[in-house]
Amino acid sequence: MRKYVPKDNVQGKSYYTDRFWVAPRVPREEVTDAHFTGVVATLGVLAKEAHVELGQLIVHIDARDNVAVIKALKEACGYTQCSEQSAVDYLAKDGEFELFYQLLNVNEAKRARVVCRIKKGEAIESIVPLFNSANFAEREMFDMFGIKVNNHPFLKRILMPDDWEGHPLLKTYPLHGDEFASWYEVDKIFGKEYRDIIGPENRDPAKVDRHDTKRFARIGYEVPFGTDISEGETQKEIEYSEALLVNYNKKESKTLDKRR
Protein backbone atom coordinates (compact mmCIF):
# COMPACT_ATOMS: atom_id res chain seq x y z
CA MET A 1 0.00 0.00 0.00
CA ARG A 2 1.33 3.42 -0.85
CA LYS A 3 2.06 5.62 2.11
CA TYR A 4 -0.42 8.45 2.59
CA VAL A 5 1.17 11.84 2.14
CA PRO A 6 -0.99 14.81 3.06
CA LYS A 7 -1.20 17.37 0.27
CA ASP A 8 -1.68 20.44 2.42
CA ASN A 9 1.54 20.05 4.38
CA VAL A 10 4.48 18.51 2.55
CA GLN A 11 7.16 19.41 5.07
CA GLY A 12 9.35 16.89 6.86
CA LYS A 13 7.62 14.72 9.43
CA SER A 14 8.91 12.54 12.17
CA TYR A 15 8.71 8.91 11.12
CA TYR A 16 7.51 7.83 14.52
CA THR A 17 5.37 9.54 17.13
CA ASP A 18 4.08 7.90 20.23
CA ARG A 19 0.29 7.71 20.03
CA PHE A 20 -0.15 8.69 23.66
CA TRP A 21 2.38 11.44 23.67
CA VAL A 22 1.00 14.89 24.45
CA ALA A 23 3.30 17.79 23.85
CA PRO A 24 3.68 20.01 26.90
CA ARG A 25 3.26 23.76 26.56
CA VAL A 26 5.63 26.57 27.38
CA PRO A 27 4.03 28.22 30.43
CA ARG A 28 1.93 31.29 29.69
CA GLU A 29 2.03 33.74 32.53
CA GLU A 30 -0.41 36.42 33.55
CA VAL A 31 0.65 39.98 32.85
CA THR A 32 2.03 41.12 36.19
CA ASP A 33 4.96 43.28 35.15
CA ALA A 34 4.24 46.98 35.78
CA HIS A 35 5.28 48.07 32.30
CA PHE A 36 3.35 45.34 30.49
CA THR A 37 0.22 45.99 32.58
CA GLY A 38 0.40 49.60 31.48
CA VAL A 39 0.68 48.51 27.85
CA VAL A 40 -2.34 46.24 28.08
CA ALA A 41 -4.33 48.99 29.82
CA THR A 42 -3.40 51.46 27.06
CA LEU A 43 -4.60 49.10 24.37
CA GLY A 44 -7.88 48.46 26.21
CA VAL A 45 -10.41 46.60 24.11
CA LEU A 46 -8.07 46.38 21.14
CA ALA A 47 -6.16 43.62 22.90
CA LYS A 48 -8.25 40.46 22.63
CA GLU A 49 -5.86 38.46 24.74
CA ALA A 50 -2.56 39.24 26.39
CA HIS A 51 -0.07 37.07 28.21
CA VAL A 52 3.63 36.85 28.92
CA GLU A 53 5.58 34.00 27.41
CA LEU A 54 9.29 33.62 28.19
CA GLY A 55 9.62 37.21 29.31
CA GLN A 56 7.95 38.87 26.34
CA LEU A 57 4.45 40.29 26.12
CA ILE A 58 2.24 38.67 23.50
CA VAL A 59 -0.87 40.58 22.48
CA HIS A 60 -3.46 38.95 20.24
CA ILE A 61 -5.43 41.46 18.24
CA ASP A 62 -7.88 41.64 15.40
CA ALA A 63 -6.09 41.90 12.06
CA ARG A 64 -8.11 45.02 11.12
CA ASP A 65 -6.73 46.89 14.14
CA ASN A 66 -3.09 46.27 13.43
CA VAL A 67 -2.18 49.85 12.50
CA ALA A 68 -4.14 51.30 15.41
CA VAL A 69 -2.53 48.94 17.91
CA ILE A 70 0.99 49.45 16.66
CA LYS A 71 0.47 53.20 16.55
CA ALA A 72 -0.68 53.14 20.16
CA LEU A 73 2.29 51.01 21.14
CA LYS A 74 4.68 53.32 19.34
CA GLU A 75 3.32 56.62 20.50
CA ALA A 76 1.95 55.87 23.95
CA CYS A 77 4.09 52.98 25.18
CA GLY A 78 7.50 53.85 23.72
CA TYR A 79 7.90 50.87 21.39
CA THR A 80 10.09 52.72 18.92
CA GLN A 81 11.50 49.84 16.94
CA CYS A 82 9.87 47.10 14.92
CA SER A 83 12.51 44.36 14.97
CA GLU A 84 10.74 41.82 12.86
CA GLN A 85 7.55 41.14 11.03
CA SER A 86 6.55 37.92 9.40
CA ALA A 87 3.93 35.22 9.22
CA VAL A 88 3.33 31.57 10.11
CA ASP A 89 1.37 29.31 7.81
CA TYR A 90 -1.58 27.61 9.54
CA LEU A 91 -3.54 27.01 6.34
CA ALA A 92 -3.56 23.25 6.74
CA LYS A 93 -4.92 23.38 10.27
CA ASP A 94 -7.12 26.47 10.48
CA GLY A 95 -7.11 27.97 7.00
CA GLU A 96 -5.38 31.03 8.42
CA PHE A 97 -2.07 32.82 8.51
CA GLU A 98 -0.68 34.03 11.80
CA LEU A 99 1.13 37.34 11.49
CA PHE A 100 3.41 38.71 14.14
CA TYR A 101 5.06 42.05 14.75
CA GLN A 102 8.05 41.98 17.10
CA LEU A 103 8.47 45.36 18.81
CA LEU A 104 11.21 46.73 21.02
CA ASN A 105 11.10 49.44 23.64
CA VAL A 106 14.64 50.79 23.75
CA ASN A 107 14.27 52.82 26.94
CA GLU A 108 12.75 50.10 29.09
CA ALA A 109 14.48 47.18 27.31
CA LYS A 110 11.14 45.41 26.87
CA ARG A 111 9.91 43.41 23.95
CA ALA A 112 6.35 42.82 22.87
CA ARG A 113 4.87 40.74 20.08
CA VAL A 114 1.62 41.66 18.40
CA VAL A 115 -0.07 38.63 16.89
CA CYS A 116 -3.05 38.59 14.56
CA ARG A 117 -4.63 36.10 12.21
CA ILE A 118 -5.95 36.54 8.70
CA LYS A 119 -7.82 34.19 6.42
CA LYS A 120 -6.40 32.93 3.15
CA GLY A 121 -6.73 35.55 0.43
CA GLU A 122 -7.19 38.41 2.87
CA ALA A 123 -4.83 41.35 2.89
CA ILE A 124 -3.29 43.24 5.78
CA GLU A 125 -2.74 46.96 6.15
CA SER A 126 0.86 48.08 5.87
CA ILE A 127 2.62 49.59 8.88
CA VAL A 128 5.32 51.27 6.78
CA PRO A 129 4.03 54.76 7.71
CA LEU A 130 4.86 53.88 11.32
CA PHE A 131 7.97 51.75 10.94
CA ASN A 132 10.12 51.88 7.83
CA SER A 133 11.80 48.64 8.86
CA ALA A 134 8.54 46.90 7.94
CA ASN A 135 9.13 47.89 4.32
CA PHE A 136 11.51 45.02 3.58
CA ALA A 137 9.88 42.70 6.11
CA GLU A 138 6.45 43.00 4.53
CA ARG A 139 7.89 42.51 1.09
CA GLU A 140 9.57 39.36 2.31
CA MET A 141 6.30 38.16 3.78
CA PHE A 142 4.57 38.79 0.47
CA ASP A 143 7.32 36.93 -1.36
CA MET A 144 7.40 33.95 0.96
CA PHE A 145 3.69 33.54 1.74
CA GLY A 146 1.82 35.51 -0.90
CA ILE A 147 0.12 37.68 1.71
CA LYS A 148 -0.89 40.97 0.11
CA VAL A 149 -0.16 44.14 2.03
CA ASN A 150 -2.40 47.13 1.40
CA ASN A 151 -0.83 50.55 0.84
CA HIS A 152 2.70 49.22 0.80
CA PRO A 153 4.93 51.65 -1.14
CA PHE A 154 6.59 48.99 -3.30
CA LEU A 155 5.12 45.55 -2.93
CA LYS A 156 7.25 43.33 -5.10
CA ARG A 157 9.12 40.07 -4.71
CA ILE A 158 12.32 40.59 -2.77
CA LEU A 159 14.21 37.33 -2.31
CA MET A 160 12.97 35.29 -5.23
CA PRO A 161 13.25 36.46 -8.85
CA ASP A 162 10.37 38.51 -10.23
CA ASP A 163 9.28 35.76 -12.60
CA TRP A 164 9.17 33.08 -9.91
CA GLU A 165 6.09 30.95 -9.46
CA GLY A 166 4.85 29.96 -6.04
CA HIS A 167 5.54 31.15 -2.52
CA PRO A 168 8.29 29.06 -0.97
CA LEU A 169 7.47 29.16 2.73
CA LEU A 170 3.95 27.88 2.32
CA LYS A 171 3.54 24.41 3.79
CA THR A 172 2.24 23.19 0.42
CA TYR A 173 5.53 24.10 -1.26
CA PRO A 174 8.05 21.24 -1.15
CA LEU A 175 11.59 21.82 0.09
CA HIS A 176 13.10 20.73 -3.21
CA GLY A 177 10.85 23.01 -5.22
CA ASP A 178 8.28 22.26 -7.84
CA GLU A 179 8.64 21.57 -11.56
CA PHE A 180 9.09 25.25 -12.36
CA ALA A 181 11.81 25.69 -9.75
CA SER A 182 13.83 22.69 -10.84
CA TRP A 183 14.14 23.94 -14.44
CA TYR A 184 14.32 27.63 -13.68
CA GLU A 185 17.96 28.29 -14.55
CA VAL A 186 17.94 26.03 -17.63
CA ASP A 187 14.81 27.66 -19.03
CA LYS A 188 16.16 31.09 -18.35
CA ILE A 189 19.64 30.66 -19.80
CA PHE A 190 19.33 28.05 -22.55
CA GLY A 191 15.63 27.66 -23.15
CA LYS A 192 13.22 24.80 -22.68
CA GLU A 193 14.62 22.81 -25.62
CA TYR A 194 17.82 22.21 -23.65
CA ARG A 195 16.06 20.44 -20.78
CA ASP A 196 16.70 17.02 -22.32
CA ILE A 197 20.36 17.74 -22.98
CA ILE A 198 21.18 19.00 -19.53
CA GLY A 199 19.00 16.53 -17.72
CA PRO A 200 17.16 16.68 -14.44
CA GLU A 201 18.73 17.83 -11.21
CA ASN A 202 20.38 15.23 -9.05
CA ARG A 203 18.80 15.59 -5.62
CA ASP A 204 20.30 12.37 -4.28
CA PRO A 205 23.46 13.27 -2.37
CA ALA A 206 24.67 9.66 -2.29
CA LYS A 207 24.49 9.00 -6.02
CA VAL A 208 27.77 7.86 -7.58
CA ASP A 209 28.09 6.88 -11.22
CA ARG A 210 31.57 5.63 -11.90
CA HIS A 211 31.24 5.81 -15.65
CA ASP A 212 30.26 9.46 -15.49
CA THR A 213 32.93 11.54 -17.17
CA LYS A 214 31.26 14.87 -16.57
CA ARG A 215 30.61 15.31 -12.86
CA PHE A 216 33.78 13.88 -11.38
CA ALA A 217 36.95 15.38 -12.74
CA ARG A 218 39.38 12.66 -13.70
CA ILE A 219 42.35 14.86 -12.98
CA GLY A 220 45.25 13.95 -15.17
CA TYR A 221 43.17 11.50 -17.21
CA GLU A 222 40.55 13.75 -18.78
CA VAL A 223 38.58 12.33 -21.63
CA PRO A 224 35.89 13.85 -23.81
CA PHE A 225 32.41 13.55 -22.47
CA GLY A 226 30.71 10.28 -23.20
CA THR A 227 33.89 8.34 -23.89
CA ASP A 228 33.74 4.75 -22.81
CA ILE A 229 36.16 4.51 -19.91
CA SER A 230 35.39 0.95 -18.96
CA GLU A 231 38.12 -0.37 -21.35
CA GLY A 232 36.06 -3.36 -22.34
CA GLU A 233 35.57 -4.46 -18.79
CA THR A 234 31.99 -5.17 -17.83
CA GLN A 235 30.58 -4.44 -14.46
CA LYS A 236 30.81 -7.64 -12.47
CA GLU A 237 29.16 -8.69 -9.31
CA ILE A 238 31.67 -9.18 -6.57
CA GLU A 239 32.11 -12.89 -5.90
CA TYR A 240 33.07 -13.83 -2.42
CA SER A 241 35.40 -16.78 -2.40
CA GLU A 242 34.70 -19.57 -0.02
CA ALA A 243 38.13 -19.27 1.51
CA LEU A 244 36.86 -16.21 3.34
CA LEU A 245 34.62 -18.41 5.42
CA VAL A 246 36.19 -19.44 8.64
CA ASN A 247 36.85 -23.09 8.99
CA TYR A 248 35.52 -24.31 12.28
CA ASN A 249 37.18 -27.68 12.10
CA LYS A 250 37.93 -28.38 15.71
CA LYS A 251 40.70 -30.86 15.06
CA GLU A 252 42.77 -28.48 12.95
CA SER A 253 42.11 -25.31 14.83
CA LYS A 254 44.21 -24.19 17.66
CA THR A 255 43.32 -25.25 21.12
CA LEU A 256 44.02 -23.17 24.14
CA ASP A 257 46.77 -24.19 26.37
CA LYS A 258 45.22 -25.82 29.37
CA ARG A 259 47.41 -23.98 31.77
CA ARG A 260 45.76 -20.65 30.83
Partner: protein, 180 residues
Protein backbone atom coordinates in the same frame (compact mmCIF):
# COMPACT_ATOMS: atom_id res chain seq x y z
CA UNK B 1 61.07 23.06 -22.40
CA UNK B 2 64.08 21.36 -23.85
CA UNK B 3 67.15 23.46 -23.32
CA UNK B 4 70.21 22.64 -25.30
CA UNK B 5 73.80 23.39 -24.53
CA UNK B 6 74.90 25.79 -27.16
CA UNK B 7 78.35 26.98 -27.98
CA UNK B 8 77.72 30.69 -27.67
CA UNK B 9 81.02 31.55 -29.32
CA UNK B 10 80.06 29.90 -32.59
CA UNK B 11 76.41 30.96 -32.64
CA UNK B 12 77.07 34.67 -32.30
CA UNK B 13 76.34 34.69 -28.59
CA UNK B 14 72.64 33.82 -28.90
CA UNK B 15 71.28 31.33 -26.38
CA UNK B 16 68.79 29.05 -28.02
CA UNK B 17 66.00 27.11 -26.47
CA UNK B 18 64.07 24.64 -28.53
CA UNK B 19 60.48 23.91 -27.71
CA UNK B 20 57.12 23.28 -29.26
CA UNK B 21 54.58 26.03 -29.73
CA UNK B 22 52.16 24.24 -27.42
CA UNK B 23 54.62 24.23 -24.57
CA UNK B 24 55.61 27.81 -25.02
CA UNK B 25 52.02 29.02 -25.14
CA UNK B 26 50.95 26.90 -22.22
CA UNK B 27 53.95 28.04 -20.21
CA UNK B 28 52.70 31.56 -20.63
CA UNK B 29 49.07 30.72 -19.99
CA UNK B 30 49.59 28.61 -16.94
CA UNK B 31 51.93 30.90 -15.08
CA UNK B 32 49.84 34.02 -15.01
CA UNK B 33 46.35 32.88 -14.25
CA UNK B 34 44.24 35.83 -13.31
CA UNK B 35 41.06 34.80 -11.57
CA UNK B 36 37.84 36.73 -11.59
CA UNK B 37 36.79 37.60 -8.05
CA UNK B 38 33.53 35.81 -8.18
CA UNK B 39 32.75 35.56 -4.51
CA UNK B 40 29.25 34.35 -3.86
CA UNK B 41 29.06 33.17 -0.27
CA UNK B 42 31.17 31.76 2.55
CA UNK B 43 33.89 30.42 0.24
CA UNK B 44 34.51 33.98 -0.94
CA UNK B 45 35.92 34.75 2.50
CA UNK B 46 38.39 31.90 2.14
CA UNK B 47 39.18 33.11 -1.36
CA UNK B 48 39.94 36.53 0.07
CA UNK B 49 42.05 34.95 2.79
CA UNK B 50 44.07 33.09 0.19
CA UNK B 51 44.75 36.39 -1.53
CA UNK B 52 45.68 38.11 1.72
CA UNK B 53 48.79 38.19 3.81
CA UNK B 54 49.29 34.70 5.19
CA UNK B 55 48.55 32.64 2.11
CA UNK B 56 49.62 35.23 -0.47
CA UNK B 57 48.29 34.09 -3.81
CA UNK B 58 50.30 36.70 -5.68
CA UNK B 59 53.47 34.67 -5.43
CA UNK B 60 51.91 32.14 -7.81
CA UNK B 61 51.27 34.79 -10.43
CA UNK B 62 47.64 34.84 -9.46
CA UNK B 63 46.17 38.29 -9.15
CA UNK B 64 42.46 38.76 -8.62
CA UNK B 65 40.75 40.88 -11.21
CA UNK B 66 37.41 42.55 -10.84
CA UNK B 67 36.51 42.52 -14.52
CA UNK B 68 35.71 39.38 -16.49
CA UNK B 69 37.40 40.91 -19.51
CA UNK B 70 40.78 40.72 -17.79
CA UNK B 71 40.37 37.31 -16.23
CA UNK B 72 41.36 33.81 -17.35
CA UNK B 73 39.90 31.76 -14.53
CA UNK B 74 36.54 32.06 -12.92
CA UNK B 75 36.59 30.86 -9.33
CA UNK B 76 32.97 30.26 -8.45
CA UNK B 77 33.25 30.53 -4.69
CA UNK B 78 30.05 29.73 -2.92
CA UNK B 79 26.40 28.92 -3.35
CA UNK B 80 24.94 29.79 -6.72
CA UNK B 81 21.28 30.58 -6.33
CA UNK B 82 18.79 30.28 -9.16
CA UNK B 83 18.27 34.01 -9.15
CA UNK B 84 21.98 34.57 -9.67
CA UNK B 85 22.60 31.79 -12.21
CA UNK B 86 21.84 34.03 -15.16
CA UNK B 87 24.60 36.42 -14.12
CA UNK B 88 27.10 33.62 -13.66
CA UNK B 89 26.56 32.51 -17.23
CA UNK B 90 26.68 36.07 -18.49
CA UNK B 91 30.00 36.73 -16.77
CA UNK B 92 31.36 33.48 -18.13
CA UNK B 93 30.33 34.54 -21.62
CA UNK B 94 32.09 37.84 -21.13
CA UNK B 95 35.46 36.28 -20.34
CA UNK B 96 37.87 36.03 -23.22
CA UNK B 97 39.19 32.72 -24.51
CA UNK B 98 41.04 30.75 -23.26
CA UNK B 99 39.11 30.50 -20.02
CA UNK B 100 38.81 28.01 -17.20
CA UNK B 101 36.44 27.54 -14.33
CA UNK B 102 37.12 26.35 -10.80
CA UNK B 103 34.07 25.39 -8.82
CA UNK B 104 35.00 26.06 -5.21
CA UNK B 105 33.16 24.42 -2.38
CA UNK B 106 30.42 21.83 -2.06
CA UNK B 107 27.63 24.26 -2.87
CA UNK B 108 29.11 25.14 -6.23
CA UNK B 109 29.95 21.51 -7.00
CA UNK B 110 26.64 19.87 -6.25
CA UNK B 111 24.45 22.24 -4.29
CA UNK B 112 26.00 20.84 -1.13
CA UNK B 113 23.98 21.08 2.02
CA UNK B 114 21.53 23.47 0.39
CA UNK B 115 19.38 20.88 -1.25
CA UNK B 116 16.53 23.35 -1.64
CA UNK B 117 14.33 25.03 -4.20
CA UNK B 118 16.53 28.14 -4.48
CA UNK B 119 19.95 26.65 -5.14
CA UNK B 120 21.44 25.52 -8.44
CA UNK B 121 22.39 21.88 -7.92
CA UNK B 122 25.91 22.17 -9.27
CA UNK B 123 27.22 25.01 -11.41
CA UNK B 124 28.12 22.50 -14.13
CA UNK B 125 24.49 22.67 -15.12
CA UNK B 126 25.11 26.07 -16.59
CA UNK B 127 28.84 26.49 -17.17
CA UNK B 128 31.55 23.93 -17.95
CA UNK B 129 33.80 23.34 -14.96
CA UNK B 130 37.48 22.32 -15.04
CA UNK B 131 38.30 21.75 -11.40
CA UNK B 132 35.91 20.73 -8.67
CA UNK B 133 37.20 21.76 -5.28
CA UNK B 134 35.55 19.95 -2.37
CA UNK B 135 35.12 21.29 1.14
CA UNK B 136 32.76 23.48 3.08
CA UNK B 137 34.46 25.87 3.07
CA UNK B 138 37.74 24.71 1.45
CA UNK B 139 40.84 26.03 3.15
CA UNK B 140 43.02 28.52 1.29
CA UNK B 141 45.65 25.81 0.82
CA UNK B 142 43.06 23.75 -1.01
CA UNK B 143 42.31 26.60 -3.35
CA UNK B 144 46.01 27.00 -4.05
CA UNK B 145 46.31 23.30 -4.73
CA UNK B 146 43.37 23.54 -7.11
CA UNK B 147 45.12 26.37 -8.88
CA UNK B 148 48.26 24.24 -9.21
CA UNK B 149 46.18 21.38 -10.56
CA UNK B 150 44.66 23.74 -13.09
CA UNK B 151 48.14 24.83 -14.14
CA UNK B 152 49.04 21.20 -14.60
CA UNK B 153 45.97 20.68 -16.70
CA UNK B 154 46.66 23.71 -18.85
CA UNK B 155 50.21 22.57 -19.52
CA UNK B 156 48.86 19.42 -21.09
CA UNK B 157 46.41 21.23 -23.32
CA UNK B 158 46.94 22.12 -26.93
CA UNK B 159 47.64 25.72 -27.80
CA UNK B 160 44.91 25.49 -30.38
CA UNK B 161 41.78 25.82 -28.32
CA UNK B 162 39.69 23.96 -30.87
CA UNK B 163 41.57 20.76 -30.20
CA UNK B 164 41.05 20.86 -26.47
CA UNK B 165 38.75 18.37 -24.92
CA UNK B 166 36.94 20.88 -22.76
CA UNK B 167 33.49 21.29 -24.11
CA UNK B 168 30.42 23.19 -23.24
CA UNK B 169 27.16 21.63 -22.21
CA UNK B 170 25.60 21.25 -25.58
CA UNK B 171 28.38 19.71 -27.60
CA UNK B 172 28.87 17.13 -24.91
CA UNK B 173 26.11 15.11 -26.48
CA UNK B 174 27.61 15.41 -29.92
CA UNK B 175 25.44 18.29 -31.05
CA UNK B 176 27.24 20.86 -33.12
CA UNK B 177 28.05 23.92 -31.16
CA UNK B 178 27.47 27.27 -32.71
CA UNK B 179 30.25 29.77 -32.27
CA UNK B 180 29.36 33.19 -31.08
Amino acid sequence: MAQHQVNYASSAGLPIALTSVDKLVNWGRSNSLWPLTYGLACCAIEMMASGASRYDFDRMGTIFRASPRQADVMILAGTLSKKHSEFARRLYDQMTEPKWVISMGSCANTGGMFNTYATVQGVDRIIPVDIYLPGCAPRPETLQYAMMMLQKKIRRESADMKKNTKQDLTNQTGKRARLI
